[in-house]
């Protein structure tokens, strides 16, 4: 297993993290894992199905707790709760069907002690940033899947998180929409300066969006390869036509192929 790249002052870090689930048939789902996320880094995680990618996100966000090891965010250890400054976007439709787009986005500021003018300014800004200004008064049922996901991203964005965790947010979208959503995500990342961790099963998505990509093994998930993409910060989905993109996806697949076969019982 390669050593995780060491960064002097990580924004978020996992040290010796292991996650086991108890019950009649205990499962060793994850680890041991060490990972440092640099401030403002875009890091993606790819791996075979069931390797523990979402468990990794749970542990890093504070939604789940590690069985062993420590998780820190901005130098503070996570203690069973999602810390302020962390935003999570889920793969499933997490929109509140009874609220309009604007109300869904404003929900993200429910606990923020802000004046109504500041709330309105932030909500309008996030809604416009995600291209939903025309649909601010619509209900989720009136939106497409991609628009609903953009609304959920806006709900996270409005809180101005410093660490954004995305769990296969574009998994249910078609390829063209995913590429365009990837551009939106890169724009969001550049303009907010947030650190981003993206869980994805799509190698091309990881290769296109990330500064670094971590390749996970079959369960229990560990990092078996860490790939630096070398893309400039100013980039978009057009990098898919760069010859380097092909080399990156080829390397990711080379690292992942044996693990995917193991998952299918052929390894």
């Amino acid at each position: 297993m390669p050593e995780a790249a060491t960064i002097p002052e990580p924004h978020a870090a996992l040290r010796g993290v292991v996650r086991r689930f108890g019950g009649k048939q205990p499962v060793h789902a994850l680890g041991p894992i060490d990972l440092d996320l640099a401030p403002g880094e875009f890091f993606s995680v790819v791996g075979p199905s069931g390797c523990g990618k979402s468990t990794l996100l749970d542990v890093l966000s504070g939604l789940g707790h590690p069985s062993e090891g420590t998780v820190t965010f901005e130098g503070k250890s996570l203690r069973g709760a999602v810390p302020e400054g962390v935003g999570v976007v889920f793969q499933e439709d997490a929109s509140f069907a009874w609220l309009t787009v604007r109300e869904n986005v404003a929900f993200g500021l429910r606990r923020a002690k802000l004046g109504s003018a500041e709330v309105a300014r932030r909500v309008d800004g996030a809604v416009a940033f995600m291209g939903l200004a025309q649909f601010a008064s619509h209900y989720p049922a009136q939106l497409s899947g991609g628009m609903r996901q953009r609304m959920c991203i806006a709900r996270t964005l409005v809180q101005q998180p410093r660490l954004i965790l995305l769990d296969e947010p574009f998994g249910a979208l078609d390829q063209q929409t995913r590429l365009l959503m990837g551009d939106e995500l890169l724009r969001l990342w550049r303009e907010t300066g947030a650190t981003v961790l993206l869980i994805t099963h799509a190698l091309d998505e990881a290769a296109m969006l990330s500064d670094r990509v971590g390749v996970m093994s079959a369960r229990p998930g560990r990092f078996i390869d860490l790939v630096e993409t070398g893309w400039p910060r100013e980039r978009d989905s057009r990098v898919v036509s760069d010859p380097h993109f092909g080399k990156l996806t080829a390397r990711l697949w080379t690292s992942l192929r044996a693990e995917s076969l193991r998952t299918m019982g052929r390894g």
Binding site: L63, E84, A94, F96, A97, W98, F107, R111, A141, Q142
Partner: protein, 253 residues
Amino acid sequence: MSRGTAVLLVRTAALAAAVLVLELLCRTGVISPQAVLPPSVMVAAMVEVLASGDATEPMLRTFSTVGLAFALAVALGIAGGAVLHATPRLRHAIDPVLASYYSVPTFVFYPLLVALLGLNMTPLVVLGVLSATPAMMIGTLAGLDGLPQVLRRVARVQRLGPIQTLLTVVLPAAMPSLFGGIKLALSYALIGVIAGEFILSGSGLGYAISYAYQSFDNRTMYGLMLFVLLVAVAANGLLYSWEGRLLRRRVRS
């Protein structure tokens, strides 16, 4: 013409036709007017009874009893459903009892309740609550069972406490199923209270209908029956309309 308007027209026409047939059958003597008053006479009788003021006190008593029983049943049903949802073992034990509850004629407990609580409003409220609470519990359980887990996770990411999560995420998300329970709870509370008044009470609309029946006062009896029927239909209609407005937001147009 919209589909909704067409449905409403057909429904109204069917109801009007049924009333007209009953009117004709009564007027032509096929059905004895001594047994069943023609609908037009029922309406006139209802207006008379209401205008006389004789029904005001029983009406207030019955509807306040139904309102109290309904409110308690909704509160207890939601709380009970939430407790059962949170404790799978208890639920496993209670589920069969809850499922077969509708076969229990709760009215048989009314004499016992009168003996225990006295001949006043309390046993009627208890009877209404006993009738209505299980429907609310079942509706609550259905709503909580259908709640997508991701919404609870969103609440945790938003760092909401348990009460905030319940009020701002869980209950609104479960509202369609809760509404099913609320509608049934209102019907059962109304049936429970009026039937209780019928059996043993000395006041209320149920008692007034029963008294008119025993006194061969058909006009008062049918007038009050029609009034109770219209109130029940109107209350349910209001709930249906409110539910429809809520659900329209959640369904892809």
